[in-house]
């Protein structure tokens, strides 16, 4: 027996042929963007990875470009941008909070590691 009191969210994402044209255009746009960013990354890596002065600039550039690519994949390809506000927050906020903590604690612990190394001359450098 069909129940009419349950909301069928699976049908909510359907769209017409006309709407599909615009959506496909957007998806291919994101594809070209991801491709261009990847080519730029490879180009920067080939040109500057052996230049010591560029090391820290490259580091932040690569991490920044990676986050740009990740944002486009999550928001467009995984359609998170089209989900409801509550759902966006419940996916992103706990994850981002946890990752910020993880990065903080690993940097703090890595520095402690160097400190212990200096203090006791641990044979950990091999």
């Amino acid at each position: 027996m069909e129940r009419d009191d349950i909301f069928e969210y699976s049908l909510h994402t359907h769209h017409t042929e006309e709407e599909g044209v615009g959506k496909r255009k957007k998806l291919w746009g994101v594809f070209w963007l991801l491709l261009v960013v990847t080519i730029v990354e490879v180009g920067l890596g080939l040109k500057f990875s052996r230049v010591p002065e560029m090391k820290s600039i490259l580091f932040y550039t690569f991490i920044g470009l990676t986050i740009v690519k990740a944002a486009y994949i999550v928001l467009t390809f995984m359609h998170l941008g089209e989900e409801s506000k509550f759902f966006k927050y419940i996916v992103l906020v706990p994850y981002i909070m946890f990752i910020l903590y993880l990065v903080f604690i690993s940097i703090a612990e890595a520095n402690y590691n160097f400190y212990m190394d200096e203090l006791f001359g641990w044979a950990t450098r091999k």
Partner: protein
């Protein structure tokens, strides 16, 4: 403020009053997202551990440009090109997947079949590329490296700044922590010291979990574990894609009235692409 009670009450849909999902999303899709978050935590933990160890052993960590220099049907050394190609394959298969999802939203069965088939082909190409990459990493280079009893890795360098196998062909030996960048010559060990060091060392080629010719043994361990774990995700993604593809062919989702299963497996597939974006940056670019 008495007039406030006399205004007409406007019915506004309340997200949290029950009857609907405040997230406006089906159960299955929400659970796929929650699974992906937990999987993302796993990969974040692995990559953070990689960053920690790399930071700790920064002076003995190999540069990816020295390690991954091969390209199919090309004899010379070319950095980053092959992994760039792998990234392209995965991004391409991500696009075909999202186009399959889009075709599903229009209930276009043939569109879903076409784009999912291309996605599966892309997935196999990527897994194959990774196997090829592993083969070359394990097999190693012609020149190999020398490893001392306390696990320090050395390479022999010739006058042109290329690594060679025999000391007689080279001008000196360079520790693995010295990369072939400007000014590396002053770190070279030459003459009798070099011969003594080679005499105390063992020649190794390629990589395994205990040692590798590229530098610190943890580099190989993390490479095998993280790319292996990611490759296993790609492989499972291909298998799940094939199962859903067979269901599409049999018209199951046509009868059901929606292609949400394609969307769910698509979420997993895009997640695999997302992880690769980070692996690519942290292993090959930085």
């Amino acid at each position: 403020m008495a007039h406030a009670h006399t205004t007409t009450h406007v019915e506004k849909p309340k997200s949290w009053a029950g009857g609907t999902s405040p997230f406006g999303i089906s159960y299955g899709k929400m659970m796929m997202w929650f699974f992906l978050i937990s999987d993302a935590f796993t990969f974040s933990g692995l990559l953070t551990a990689y960053g920690f160890m790399r930071h700790k052993f920064t002076d003995v960590w190999p540069v990816a440009g020295d390690v991954f220099t091969h390209f199919p049907f090309y004899d010379g050394h070319i950095e980053l090109a092959y992994v760039g190609l792998m990234t392209f394959i995965l991004i391409m298969s991500s696009v075909t997947m999202v186009l399959a999802v889009e075709a599903g939203h229009r209930m276009n069965k043939n569109g879903v079949i076409l784009w999912m088939a291309l996605t599966i082909v892309g997935g196999f190409m990527f897994v194959g590329s990774q196997a090829w990459e592993w083969y070359h990493f394990i097999h190693g280079t012609e020149h190999g490296a020398y490893i001392t009893k306390d696990n320090s890795v050395f390479h022999i360098v010739d006058a042109h700044g290329h690594m060679v196998k025999e000391l007689k062909d080279g001008i000196g030996i360079k520790p693995a922590n010295v990369h072939l960048v400007k000014g590396y010559e002053e770190h070279l060990i030459k003459g009798a010291d070099a011969e003594k060091l080679i005499g105390e060392s063992r020649w190794i080629q390629g990589a395994n979990l205990q040692e590798n010719e590229y530098g610190h043994s943890l580099f190989g361990d993390f490479f095998f574990f993280i790319t292996g774990f990611h490759g296993f995700h790609v492989f499972s993604g291909v298998v799940i894609n094939i199962i859903i593809f067979v269901n599409v062919l049999q018209g199951l989702y046509d009868k059901r009235g929606h292609y949400e299963m394609v969307e769910k497996v698509g979420l997993y597939w895009h997640f695999v692409d997302l992880v690769w974006v980070f692996v690519f940056t942290f292993f090959y670019l930085l």
